[in-house]
């Protein structure tokens, strides 16, 4: 069973764009790892990595954590009501929902077959979010 891990990727460049990815529908993503684009709202996309023609720089607006492991969904469901079951939220799904009371973007991007989720709260919530995720993850062996 994959170990449950939490990685802080907050300094990864992220950009908001308003065109150019019409094939990525709201609630879905394309690509993986550092090469990811997703949408949680019609007409708006978030793109990872430096964007020469990016519009709004979100690098500083959102923190980004990667939570990986077999129990990752169980942990998120301690804090969030989203249905993360395999057919409702497979790898490639994206959402904005409430995590511990904070509107947070969640992208499922499995790594080497292990369930893995990116969590992107607004950056001022970073300390709080780390605290509640670690608190909820303590019983699940989060490292």
């Amino acid at each position: 069973m994959a170990e449950l891990t939490l990685t802080d990727l907050s300094s990864t460049p992220k950009w908001r764009v308003f065109a150019g990815h019409e094939d990525v529908r709201p609630g879905t993503s394309k690509g993986s790892g550092d090469n990811l684009v997703w949408s949680v709202s019609p007409g708006e996309w978030t793109v990872l990595g430096d964007q020469p023609d990016g519009v709004v720089d979100l690098t500083h607006v959102r923190s980004m954590f990667r939570l990986t492991g077999a129990d990752a969904a169980h942990l998120i469901n301690r804090l969030c009501a989203l249905d993360l079951s395999a057919d409702m939220f497979p790898s490639g799904a994206a959402a904005r929902s409430l995590v511990a009371g904070v509107a947070t973007e969640i992208v499922r991007d499995d790594l080497d077959g292990a369930p893995s989720y990116l969590l992107l709260p607004s950056s001022s919530f970073k300390t709080y979010m780390l605290e509640v995720v670690r608190d909820a993850g303590a019983e699940l062996g989060l490292v």
Binding site: P26, G27, V40, S41, P42, A81, L82, D83, M88, A95, R96, S97, L98, A103
Partner: protein, 87 residues
């Protein structure tokens, strides 16, 4: 906790939404009187029936939606984006 099937996000709990009630027609601001304007501001029909309401998916896609809900049973039979019409 109601379940609202957002046309953009799928099934979500109602605590992700804010409720704005039945949409009202905004009177012409240059040709209105206090009684008309305040009816627009404050008065709702509050029927025991199917009603079409506006909900804002504030913690999800941030889109304003039209929701058909029965005010007695809380049954929801249709949710669609603003401006989209249908059955």
């Amino acid at each position: 906790m109601l379940l609202i099937v957002c046309p953009h996000c799928g099934p979500r709990n109602s605590d992700e939404f804010t409720y704005l009630g039945e949409p009202r027609t905004r009177p012409d601001v240059n040709d209105t009187d206090p009684a008309t304007w305040r009816r627009y501001l404050y008065m709702r029909s509050n029927r025991n029936d199917w009603v079409t309401e506006r909900w804002f998916h504030v913690s999800g896609c941030r889109r304003y939606l039209m929701v058909q809900r029965h005010t007695a049973s809380n049954e929801i039979r249709d949710v669609r984006p603003l401006g989209e019409t249908g059955s």
